[in-house]
């Protein structure tokens, strides 16, 4: 279980290790000029021949001087190969520029920016916001309990800093429970660029601090981008969630009237289960692996997918259990929905769900904005 470590803090360099030994390949991906200026076409050729078609398409896309983002989105919608995800997510989120020549310098600048944000926020003479800090302190040890990666003091301190710096810079929402969950996929995905073993079982204390700092900074910026699209979910009164749950109930009434009628007859309110589905983006319902695959598609869909597309995903998710739910009474329904049998779900199950959601969104999106008067 030894992990191959690297002291390079540039996530792009994972390409170097995983996708081949071609210098020009990694040099162009990481935005560095190839020192000898050679392009080594045979190596690229060989690379191509041993990769699957889809992966190769990704690589070709990523190798462009200025990445064709619509093309990258189209590819990412179908799922991103694990080893490319640490590059593709920051690109899709706009954390990393599409122009290869700007990448290294941008990442370096942002990581420095984060380091100074942390320094200022936790400066010795500065009072912490006790209410926010207290909530973060009690939630961090309760984040992904039992998962080894998250039991280490150093990952917990990283998570604390990410959450607190974000909360202080977003006073309208501050820290809201559930945001801790949303930070973890980023951290794990960016960590995976540096280790060969399963990120969740990894002991991060053996990584050099510079690597951990880079993972933390990238996680912070990407989490911020994600949250920008769903801020309404976390401000006072959580209007974003209330709106989404209401629209979900309206949608389910149209796509599955018998289920909607049964839920109503049992006095089940959507808010009683769907609140959590919106607040934690289904992270309490499905595995992190499933979540990561789901986010490939969300990130490909664009900025508002975490509020708009997500609502179709949640509707498709509920309707999936329609037959079972319609046999149950109030207690059965609520208990079933709070411990759904998704433990064995694979990427395939998530992909089915995403395509069902896609069909719903294409069919209903305009109609919905129409009937809900928006």
């Amino acid at each position: 279980m030894r992990s191959t470590l690297t002291h390079d803090t540039d996530p792009l360099q994972l390409i170097r290790r995983r996708l081949g030994k071609s210098k020009s390949l990694h040099d162009s991906l990481s935005g560095r000029a190839s020192p000898d200026g050679s392009e080594s076409p045979e190596l690229l050729q060989r690379e191509r021949s041993i990769r699957t078609n889809r992966r190769q398409k990704f690589i070709n896309c990523l190798l462009q001087e200025d990445i064709n983002m619509p093309e990258l989105r189209k590819l990412a919608w179908q799922g991103i190969p694990d080893e490319l995800r640490p590059i593709v997510w920051p690109l899709l989120l706009g954390h990393m520029p599409s122009i290869s020549g700007l990448r290294s310098s941008t990442l370096k600048r942002k990581r420095e920016e984060y380091a100074s944000l942390v320094e200022v926020t936790f400066a010795r003479d500065r009072q912490l916001d006790q209410q926010i800090w207290h909530q973060i302190e009690i939630d961090v040890p309760r984040t992904r309990p039992g998962v080894r990666l998250w039991m280490h003091a150093c990952t917990q301190r990283s998570l604390e800093r990410i959450l607190y710096v974000w909360a202080i810079r977003h006073p309208a929402s501050g820290y809201v429970q559930g945001i801790n969950d949303l930070a973890t996929p980023f951290f794990q995905v960016f960590l995976s660029a540096y280790v060969d073993s399963e990120a969740e079982d990894f002991d991060p204390t053996i990584l050099p601090p510079s690597v951990l700092n880079a993972i933390e900074a990238d996680s912070y910026f990407c989490l911020s981008r994600l949250l920008d699209g769903i801020q309404d979910n976390y401000i006072a009164g959580q209007p974003g969630i209330h709106r989404s749950v209401k629209r979900m109930a309206e949608l389910v009434a149209r796509i599955d009237p018998p289920l909607a009628a049964h839920l109503a007859s049992q006095n089940v309110e959507f808010m009683q289960f769907a609140f959590r589905w919106m607040n934690c983006l289904l992270m309490r319902e499905i595995s992190v692996r499933n979540t990561i695959r789901m986010w490939d598609t969300y990130l490909a869909e664009g900025a508002d997918a975490f509020s708009q597309f997500h609502l179709y995903v949640c509707s498709a998710f509920l309707v999936k259990w329609s037959e079972k739910l319609r046999q149950m009474d109030f207690q059965g329904i609520i208990m079933f929905l709070q411990s759904l049998p998704t433990q064995s779900w694979t990427d395939h199950d998530i992909e089915m769900l995403l395509s069902e959601a896609f069909v719903l969104s294409s069919t209903w999106h305009n109609a919905q904005s129409h009937f809900s008067g928006r």
Partner: protein
């Protein structure tokens, strides 16, 4: 034949005082040092049997404690027959929060709601910030039940729920409803067997 009753119970209180741990101890007799925070609310049930073989089934809504979720709480206490308002004996601010919940229940919930104030984490007595006297005095003034528990060791947990069961109006069966614990429905002390009921008035002093 023994009588069966069904009541809705809501747990309220500041985040991390141990609401979910308390229910987990009561329902499954388990304890985890670290569990995920509650988002929205969790639903559980547990039945207690009293000395006279009367059974009381609790339909429990364990709510989320963070202030931001406050607006959801009425959905859960709206039709509750009883409420357990929890504080952490090692955090005096959590008692203030508990008092705020109690005032809200007194104003907004069913006027007949049975409220128990519960000081949790007695296993951490060395770090105690809320004295028994202070909490008990407040509970008496407000006419609440009061008890201390440790979800970790199990101390006092079944006692407080049993005491609530005894305090509930087992003598006055409400009209039978088909309520299955749904907050939108009105199931108070449903005597499922429609038996004439015997007096059951030994209110708790746990």
């Amino acid at each position: 034949m023994s009588k069966q009753f069904q009541f809705k119970l809501v747990l309220l209180g500041e985040s991390a005082v141990g609401k979910s741990s308390l229910v987990l101890r009561f329902v499954k007799d388990q304890f985890d040092d670290y569990r995920e925070s509650t988002i929205g609310a969790a639903f559980l049930t547990q039945t207690v049997t009293l000395e006279d073989q009367t059974t009381v089934k609790f339909e429990i809504w364990d709510t989320a404690g963070q202030e931001r979720y406050k607006s959801l709480a009425p959905m859960y206490y709206r039709n509750a027959n009883c409420a357990v308002v929890v504080y952490d004996i090692t955090q005096s601010t959590s008692l203030d929060k508990a008092k705020t919940w109690i005032r809200e229940l007194q104003r907004q919930a069913d006027p007949n709601i049975v409220i128990a104030l519960c000081g949790n984490k007695t296993d951490l007595a060395a770090r105690r910030q809320v004295s028994q006297e202070e909490a008990q005095k407040y509970a008496e003034e407000e006419g609440l039940m009061w008890g201390e528990t440790s979800a970790k060791t199990g101390e006092g947990v079944s006692e407080i729920f049993t005491a609530i069961a005894k305090k509930l109006p087992l003598t006055a069966p409400a009209p039978k409803t088909t309520a299955r614990g749904a907050p939108g429905s009105s199931g108070r002390g449903v005597d499922l067997n429609k038996q004439p009921t015997a007096g059951q008035n030994d209110a708790c002093n746990c």
